[in-house]
Amino acid sequence: MNTFLSLTLIALLLSILAGLIRVFRGPAPAERMLAAQLFGTAAVAILLVLSQLMQMPALLDVAMVFALLAAVTLVGFVVLASRGVR
């Protein structure tokens, strides 16, 4: 079971790394924000799996904070990336 969970973690991490290509290629800030949203969700998923794998229930709190902050950061990106009208 633990091997399987580790493999899951690797797949999720690879999915984050693939998303980085989108941050580089852009072209618009919207694409980069979208990639940031992927990272937030994937990091929460990694933390959920890790909490089981490392037997640390405290990681669920960390996952909760990640979820909250991902939302806040994304709103920051949307509001402060405004081009043109201000």
Partner: protein, 325 residues
């Protein structure tokens, strides 16, 4: 066959290094900040793997979240001032003076040597030093809390934490000195979906922040993490201009800035007046005192971080003073 978890660790470490390089070399500054936030996120994951969930919480909330927001706000301001806000991509916003290639090369070699020395020192260091584990484990029953990191932060090394709160206070004083003016930027229109979400998310965030503060006594969490999560509420309110700091609110803000430092120092003095060392809380009251200090420090941290994000001191508007983000 190697443990797949080792592969995960190696991949994560490589990703972190690659992100550091990418954040410093990508041309677009907006992409730089996104990459930096992802870097913070992945470092937090790495610290979770090193069984340091407290540090991971602090890094995710303060190191990635608040710092990212600060950088983004500054970028927005710089682009506004330099009149490049309308452009799609955010290339350099500060004027560049060409540096001779030799100087850059010399700098890089110098840094390389330092890093090499660090790597050699790290690899040559004894595998596991004595550390403080035994000392802390022995003293824990006398600390009044069950979570070692909270015990260290608020009891055994409380001087450090007091000084840290003072540093935050000094930072907000400095920022208020550097920047002045009142915000007259209009509120962004985010639509009805956002309104509904904010009604749910803001109270939920306050609950999570308070929960982190409370759970800090026995599990990862505590004043800094709780304060940072509460600061996120302030950041959201300031970002969406649901709250615009007014000059008349300065008194309350100042009170909140010094609240943490004040209560912390007061408790230390009261304890010391009872013939003890400054932070040697009497055992029967230790948990109450620690929770009191943590609660006040949390409020201070939340308000101070939000004020650092807002930047300028809200002063009464002068004529033609249109200088803000």
């Amino acid at each position: 066959m190697t443990d797949p978890l080792v592969i995960f660790d190696v991949a994560l470490a490589l990703a972190i290094v690659a992100l550091a390089v990418a954040a410093l070399s990508v041309r677009d500054l907006f992409a730089m900040i996104v990459l930096f936030v992802v870097f913070g996120l992945l470092s937090a994951l790495a610290w979770v793997r090193l069984s340091a969930p407290d540090v991971a919480l602090a890094e995710a909330a303060i190191g990635a979240g608040v710092t990212g927001a600060l950088l983004l706000k500054t970028l927005h301001h710089l682009r506004y001032v330099s009149g490049t806000l309308g452009q799609q991509a955010a290339y350099g916003v500060t004027p560049l003076t060409p540096v001779p290639i030799g100087v850059t090369l010399a700098n890089a070699i110098f840094c390389g040597l330092i890093t090499l020395g660090l790597a050699v020192a790290y690899l040559g260091a004894p595998a596991a030093g004595p550390g403080f584990d035994a000392l802390v484990a022995e003293a824990m029953p006398r600390s009044g809390v069950d979570h070692p990191v909270t015990g260290v932060l608020l009891n055994f090394r409380a001087y450090d934490t007091l000084m840290e709160v003072v540093v935050l206070l000094a930072a907000v004083v400095a920022v208020w000195q550097i920047e002045r003016g009142v915000s007259d930027a209009p509120a962004p229109v985010l639509g009805e979906v956002w309104q509904g979400f904010a009604r749910l998310a803001l109270p939920a965030t306050v609950v999570v922040g308070t929960y982190l503060l409370w759970v800090g006594a026995e599990a990862p969490g505590g004043a800094f993490q709780g304060g940072a999560v509460l600061a996120a509420v302030g950041l959201l309110l300031l970002l969406t201009r649901a709250y615009v700091p007014q000059p008349t609110h300065r008194g309350i803000a100042r009170g909140a800035f010094v609240l943490g430092t004040g209560v912390f120092a007061l408790v230390a003095l009261l304890v010391a007046s009872g013939g003890r060392v400054a932070f040697e809380y009497p055992l029967e009251h230790a948990k109450t005192l620690i929770l009191l200090i943590e609660g006040m420090v949390t409020i201070s941290i939340a308000v101070t971080l939000a004020a650092l994000f807002h930047g300028r001191e809200p002063v009464a508007q002068t004529k033609g003073g249109r200088d803000d983000t």
